[in-house]
Amino acid sequence: MEKVCDAQIKGVSTGTTILAATFDGGVVIGSDSRASIGGEYVSSKTINKVIQVHDRVFCCMSGSLADAQAVTKAAKFHLALHSVQMETPPLVIAAATILKDLCYRNKEELQAGFITAGWDQKRGAQVYVVSLGGMLVSQPVTIGGSGSTYIYGYVDAKYKPDMSREECLQFAINALALAMGRDNVSGGVANLAVITESGVEHVVVPGNKLPTFHDD
């Protein structure tokens, strides 16, 4: 069932499109929902790639599904312990650093990348990206996964800092729709989470309700 090549991921992979963007007062994080094997077979049409690692911190996974699930499980544990010890909700950078540490120290064996986004009391809404090798970078908007290559232009042109919540959500949905339209290993539904000081809202846009463009 799986073809093992150097560049490909063994087992189920989340060839994917993930993104996160900050807006005025919060952050939107989203992904597609397709899991594939060998770039040929869709093993799951509705896999959840947007994982809540703490009350106001989410992360999106890309790469090998097994590796990403294992890393987020470990990160959830470490973050929960850290939060209990500090007796305060964790900072988003703490979550991102935990993921980065796991990815960097085990870089030989792991094939997983993450986007962490959330809200904390100290610095407000933030987005961090942890790449495959364990680089940690903070950005106001970021995209990742195999489908991201098709939407760099769209994101660069359309993103504005301090958008409103609705504008940012629409921007994210549009970006995901465009990427899913061009990338064969991204698809399914668009899973998004909107994180603000007051709470978290999950938004799910089924494939047939995604925005359509000139050629659809």
Partner: protein, 281 residues
């Protein structure tokens, strides 16, 4: 920790002892393994469809009964639906030994957990233990499992891949026949299936696998788990192609004539004699 896992508690953090960092090495080792599996007859590989939709108040698990060793059918009546707990059953596709042993291991763990804690295990607990185990072994344990069961939180259906990926779905198919089975599933599954409809759907899906996949065949086993109990139907449907052996293969004593009979007594010399009194009081 002590309650849930009676194996040696895995060290905190990631443990990559079971993998080599050089990808080329891994590929080489894998090729060797597959070759060995086909040579050693007793370790068989059963890729096969196993398939399960979720009912409102239960789960239906189904599987075929063929185990193969490359092109040869090693077992026509193997049992692929394994017991994990009174309320949890697991279907395994992949390497037969791996699925057997892995499910056995987790079943033992769950039993001890139940005795220690006084609680019935939850399906998600079995899933987590399996995920940790399979992930630690980096795909070297070739077990693709589907777990279904009913616990205090309701009925659940999970799949755990050989590399340790987990997915929760209302219906699933795994094994070499999963493409054929999934087609039937996608067409026939509704969220509000009745028990009989679900059983028919599972039967049709496994049938599709049996007909279209060479790795699947023979009978269909079904296992229905509800909050009222478990109904393990083996077989639910028998194979149309049965053996009709025309000869008797038992030979009466004396069929092979004895030509000569030589008895050679062994001369034994007593070297040392020791008498030890037994305590009988």
């Amino acid at each position: 920790m002590a309650l849930s896992n009676v194996l040696e508690a895995p060290a905190a953090g990631f443990n990559f002892e079971n993998s080599s960092s050089v990808p080329e090495n891994n590929l080489y080792v894998r090729v060797n393994e597959i070759h060995q599996r086909s040579v050693v007859f007793s370790s068989f590989f059963f890729p096969s469809p196993v398939f399960y939709p979720l009912l409102q108040d239960g789960v239906v698990l189904g599987a075929d009964t063929r185990a193969t060793s490359s092109e040869v059918v090693a077992d026509k009546m193997c049992s692929k639906i394994h017991y994990m707990a009174p309320n949890i059953y697991c279907c395994g596709a992949g390497t037969a030994a791996d699925t057997e042993k892995t499910t056995d291991l987790v079943a033992s763990n769950l039993t001890i957990f139940s005795l220690n804690s006084g609680r019935k295990p939850r399906v998600v607990m079995a899933v987590n233990i399996l995920q940790d185990l399979l992930y630690r072994y980096r795909g070297q344990i070739g077990a693709s499992l589907i777990l279904g069961g009913v616990d205090c939180t309701g009925s659940h259906l999970y799949t755990v891949g050989p590399y340790g990926s987990v997915d929760k779905k209302p219906y699933l198919a795994m094994g070499s026949g999963n493409l054929a089975a999934m087609g039937i599933m996608e067409d026939g599954f509704r969220p509000d299936l009745e028990l009989d409809q679900a059983k028919q759907l599972v039967r049709s899906a496994i049938q599709a696998g049996i007909l279209n996949d060479l790795g699947s065949g023979h009978n269909i086993d079904l296992c229905v788990i509800t909050d009222r109990g478990v109904d393990y139907i083996r077989p639910y449907q028998e194979s149309q192609y049965k053996d009709h052996r025309t000869n008797k293969y038992r030979f009466r004593q004396g069929t092979t004539p004895v030509l000569t009979d030589t008895v050679v007594p062994l001369e034994l010399e007593v070297v040392e004699e020791k008498v030890q009194q037994m305590e009988t009081s």
